[in-house]
Amino acid sequence: MVAVRASLEDMTSSPADQPGATDTTDAKIAAYAHPERLVTTDWLAAQIAAGATGPGTGIVILESDEDVLLYETGHIPTSLKLDWHQDLNDPLTRDYVGAEQFARLMTARGISRDTTVVVYGDKSNWWAAYALWVMSLFGHPDVRLLDGGRAKWVAEGREMTREVPSVPAGGDDAAYPLSARDDAPIRAFKDDVLAHLGKPLVDVRSPGEYSGELLHMPDYPQEGAVRGGHIPGAKSVPWARAAAEDGTFKPRAELEAIYLTEQGLSPDEDVVAYCRIGERSSHTWFVLTHLLGFDNVRNYDGSWTEWGNAVRVPIEK
């Protein structure tokens, strides 16, 4: 656990020294445990206007959506696409890419180890949070979310483009260094969850999935399971409770009222979050870790598509 805290502090203490300094323009963001993990649309627009963003610069903007074609219909100027399925998943094994492939993905987007990466996406940043979490597995020091994601940017009538920025051809110096993936601090596997039973678990799926009435998420029947219910002892806190109407994160006090007061979670406890394939729980992982300052939250990405299909694991209804 000591190692976990140390690595999280390394990850969260450096951004102020990075080219993209922390967004201090917003009182709501300043109140979070790690305000350097979130930026406002105003802040991002100002960075773009100043020419401070784009491949090879200090700030690289990535769009990560559920819909693989949404980026092509128009995106935030200077941004590039990072697709959760095509880019971040290993094509054969149900796992994420390894260090070499990750380095190639980053290099191809003009990202170096000291680049400030701002991720945004559709669906209240589900997939953006997922991409941020995967980048955190590789210990990328400074990766942030755009509060409100794609929908807020569009709703505010801000500029969108179909122009894809070119990535400067760098030499070997420009290549992203091989960085080992370190799963243990923030990722839980099925055996980890079995060993964790009795400690806090957060089920972020819809109430119908939690109760076992639904074997899949509404409108996602292809990601079903043969058993319904939830992992024993898990608390039901649908991910969307952390999001406001406009897709931004709720203010810290409101989040504390949900996760601390109502659910009785404590920032010094070990917590595991899960959903169906790990993307909605990445959103909750982000909330607990970066907005509320929990020290040890792991995302169980196997989630219900693994647990609800696994043989002889305990299930509660």
Binding site: D67, V68, L69, E72, T73, Q86, D219, P221, Q222
Partner: protein, 174 residues
Amino acid sequence: MSDNSSRMPESLAEIAADFRDSSPQERLQLLLEFSDELPPLPERYAGHLDQLEQVHECQSPLFLVVEVGASPGVAPDDQRVDLFFSAPPEAPTTRGFAGILHEGLDGRTVAEVLGTPDDAPMSFALAEVVSPLRLRGMVAMLSRIKRQTALKSAASATPDAPASTPDASSASRG
């Protein structure tokens, strides 16, 4: 692959060939063009999504309805099939799938639509650019189109039977 193409209506087989002959990046652009060009619903369906069937296998809301012609003196198998789709602009992949099926199957005959292989969506070399998981939505769309075509063709061939729109709940797969 070639076996499937030979059984697809020529219009759909040509689109499949265009996709297969393109680079992966061009394939995405092509899919985007189909998404952009998906025609809006005609007035009689606009605002009446309850008259359309929702394809639940698509990750974004997609609704479709099939109309089968009833031209006198034309055999049931040769009646014309018209397709109508509705999907929001923020679901361009789903719209692109719909656009391909519209371009390839709209205006074809009942026999051509029903003869389209169920796995025709695998002939567009799209799995590697959009992922096989997402392609399932297109497979589901095609199966709904064929199912509605078969039902409505049978209904119009039997003048006494009411033409019915299949309801989504009975059509969802186990």
